[in-house]
Symmetry: C2
Subunit: 210 residues, 2 copies
């Protein structure tokens, strides 16, 4: 079982510790997606702490099926960010907690690419109209790291969502981690110096209060 | 159970029918992913027929979990194209059948966005090195439709993969179908006339032998 009441206590305790810069939650917690009402008190405390909330998958969707070709990581992890973002949007979490800051791993996973499809669902489906804004309007409620393994992905994040919403990431300690994560940004052929500086320096300073 | 022997017979029968323009297979057939060896005789006959193979999901990954907010369609369907493409690449199907032509639905789903991540896996993981080329090299082995619900997605497909690999789609009969699918292409702000003509006309003529 999951223990949101204990999580609330831990948020309250940890938020006061010296050097604390953020919280982390899995993209699904023991079978509960992030729109689950049991998480509301946790989000409330995290929003009140003014610290950002980082997401990362633990157990990915369809992990038995994705158990070949390293697909649990190569596809399952980025699928998870899209599912989590959809739950935070359609579950009304981002509306209810307007100051909650959420960071998606793996360059947002499949979310930034599929947001148009989520948007189209919102336009056409009466059962999704309870959300105030269209999914595209929520793109800038999230931060994204640079771990997309593609100049095109990074360019899209910067130009479509904004250079102020992208943070340098490394995926350090996993087999596919960048060896030189700064170079991924500074050597990008189509970003300008101001955008690069924000991504490797300014955005993290701002977000983490450094 | 799935019945590849019956599928082989059906391919042989149907390929000779007047007006036949292509075949279709689900992205997963009764629990078997598309790299399953039982499909090899089916792919062999389809390749020999010189007709293209269209993919579309039937039952999507994690469909119980995705049973809210219409996510089985909004996310599950595009996830399926990425899984299917990964199996066709890492399962060696595209190497074994070099003339097999495969069309991915939903603008390739999550595949064109996550191909960089698949590529990175191929670079770093010894267990994926059996494939001749990097996943990015296989992007042009697929056709993609325009059902991405985003000018950015369509632009990426055209500029990164090629205007000759994109086909107009409508998603007709589903709730999120385009009302005016031709306009999605012709009104695109950043494609040129030659690219638009290929997508709404020339590519389909070529692919379907019209």
């Amino acid at each position: 079982m999951h223990e949101p009441a204990l999580a609330v206590k831990e948020v309250e305790r940890a938020a006061k510790l010296p050097g604390m810069r953020g919280f982390y939650i899995a993209t699904q917690v023991r079978g509960k997606d992030l729109s689950d009402a049991s998480f509301l008190p946790v989000y409330e405390r995290i929003e009140a702490s003014r610290l950002p909330l980082f997401l990362h998958p633990v157990e990915v969707i369809g992990h038995e099926r994705l158990g070949v070709y390293y697909l649990t990581n190569l596809l399952g992890n980025p699928f998870e960010s899209a599912i989590a973002a959809a739950h935070l949007i359609f579950g009304g979490i981002l509306d209810r907690f307007p100051k909650l800051v959420v960071c998606l791993p793996h360059a947002g996973g499949a979310f930034p690419w599929l947001v148009g499809r989520l948007n189209r669902g919102w336009e056409k489906r009466a059962d999704l109209k309870h959300v105030k804004h269209s999914p595209v309007d929520y793109l800038r409620r999230f931060y994204y790291d640079t771990v997309g393994y593609s100049d095109h992905v990074l360019e899209y994040l910067v130009k479509v969502i904004g250079a102020d919403r992208v943070l340098m990431g490394s995926d350090y300690c996993f087999p596919i981690a960048y060896e030189r994560p700064v170079d991924i940004v500074t050597a990008h052929p189509r970003l300008d110096e101001d955008q690069k500086k924000k991504i490797v320096d300014g955005n993290a300073r701002h977000l983490l209060g450094l």
